[in-house]
């Protein structure tokens, strides 16, 4: 595989693994990491988490990746993949946490 292709996968896979592990731990989810599809809806349908869980997810992201989640920006929390997109964007900023 081309290097850029493979490095994109590896970078994303690392963030997914970290986030899933913390998510399962903090919310006591009855799933393994492999059971959580990255597009699964975190709130409402899918995992069916509530507003208190949403707060826990925000804390989880902020402590794991040293980034801030803007207030009221629920678009970021729609799925594991949307969270990972935000983390990658923040890490790509000048001075972003790598």
């Amino acid at each position: 595989m081309p290097d850029e292709f493979q490095s994109t996968i590896e970078r994303r896979a690392r963030i997914i693994a970290t986030f899933k592990k913390e998510l399962i731990l903090r919310l006591n989810l009855p799933y393994s990491a492999e059971d959580l599809h990255e597009d699964i809806s975190l709130l409402g349908s899918g995992l069916g988490l509530d507003s208190l869980d949403a707060l826990e997810i925000v804390l989880c992201i902020e402590s794991c990746f040293k980034i801030k989640i803007p207030d009221q920006n629920i678009a970021i929390l729609r799925s594991i993949n949307t969270v990972v997109d935000h983390v990658l964007e923040q890490q790509a900023l000048p001075g972003g946490a790598a």
Binding site: R12, Y31, D35, D39, G44
Partner: protein, 369 residues
């Protein structure tokens, strides 16, 4: 072929009908673009009466349904709804199901992909008679009100109390001397309500809802537009990727399964595949604007090798491009990658994070209405 109680109204509105697994459905009523716009910007009214509909006493129904369905039925709290699935003995999808715990009764709705006669037969074999299961499929209509302004239609017809219903809950409302079971659900990512109504009021309820929808610049919808809306919202669609793939693990439906349950249809096969490890996985894919080749069945290439297959597709009017779901080997099933479509030198498509749109309904705070 089974027909809807509402067919006269839909036919009068110019609906085009077709068969879906032995039941007749109104595929399109107002035109796909208009129907799509109605749900995203206003509200749409759709006849989902083709679903199988059952009720049963809670006391007997809990064990009966729990032995059939992948989700944990006894854990459904009063007034709440479980979204799960029914599998066959090979652990492959047969139906996308809602189970509502409505006090003394359970309401069971199933969107099946088996021939129409098979689900009632399967339920009978599993002991439906002993569980007191009543088949409402022919005696009730099932209407779906979806859209940015769906809550406003519900408020007008049933009162402001409706606004307090959380997602995946059920409540009963009176309408012209009969009872309507109202489920807040929906798979469009906008507000959604399912209304289960007996034959005696079905046409009157349809007329009332149609008038309320029209007042808000909405329209009648067919079931086909829901394929687009479900994909954009990344809700599982048993009629699209579900029908083509059928393996709930590849489809990422583990969240619908209680993996600790001792018994449900297809449990052993699903557990065995899960223990063997996931090899393929479904991922969102987007085409460049103007590219029309991203269609179900198309192959996806990486480094001259076919690696994926498109299993569901739609045109996203919001994003102005084609979207799809495709199955890839797990080692390639990541968002943010570029592939080629149809051939090693075909047009570029990219895997994307789902859901790719931000529905207007997320900007509405019902508790402030």
């Amino acid at each position: 072929m089974r027909s809807s109680l509402l067919k006269p109204r839909l036919a009068a509105a110019g609906a085009s009908f077709r068969e879906r697994h032995g039941a007749e459905v109104a595929a399109r009523v107002s035109g796909r673009a208009a129907e799509y716009a109605a749900v995203r910007d206003a509200v749409g009214l759709t006849d989902f009466s083709f679903l199988h509909k059952f009720r049963m006493p809670s006391e007997q129904g809990l064990d009966f349904l729990d032995g059939l369905l992948a989700g944990n039925v006894p854990k459904i709290r009063f007034g709440r709804v479980l979204h799960t699935f029914l599998a066959d003995n090979d652990g492959l999808l047969l139906g996308d199901c809602y189970v509502a715990n409505n006090d003394e009764e359970l309401v069971f709705l199933c969107e099946g992909i088996a021939p129409d006669c098979e689900l009632p037969a399967l339920l009978q074999t599993a002991g439906a008679a002993e569980a007191g299961v009543e088949d409402l499929t022919d005696s009730h209509a099932l209407l779906s009100v979806d859209g940015f302004k769906a809550w406003d239609v519900m408020k007008e017809v049933f009162g402001a109390d409706v606004l307090g219903l959380p997602y995946l809950s059920i409540e009963v409302y009176p309408f012209q001397g009969a009872s309507v079971r109202l489920i807040r659900a929906g798979k469009t990512s906008e507000f959604g309500y399912l209304l289960l109504a007996p034959e005696s009021i079905a046409l009157a309820l349809f007329d009332t809802l149609q008038a309320a929808v029209a007042k808000r610049d909405g329209c009648l919808c067919g079931v086909d537009v829901h394929d687009d809306l479900r994909l954009e919202g990344r809700f599982p669609n048993i009629q699209a990727e579900g029908l083509r793939v059928r393996d709930p693990l590849v489809l990422g439906l583990q969240w619908m399964i209680d993996l600790d349950k001792e018994k449900f249809h297809g449990r052993d096969a699903i557990r065995e595949r899960r223990a063997g490890g996931l090899r393929r996985k479904i991922v969102g894919v987007a085409a460049e604007p103007g590219s029309e080749a991203l269609v179900t069945g198309a192959r996806i290439f990486h480094a001259a090798e076919p690696v994926g297959e498109v299993v569901a597709d739609c045109h996203s009017y919001v994003l102005n491009r084609r979207l799809a779901l495709a199955v890839f080997p797990v080692e390639l099933a990541y968002s943010g990658l570029s592939f080629r479509l149809g051939a090693a030198d075909g047009p570029v498509v990219k895997t994307i994070s789902m859901p790719p749109i931000m529905p207007k309904s997320l900007s509405v705070k019902l508790d402030e209405m």
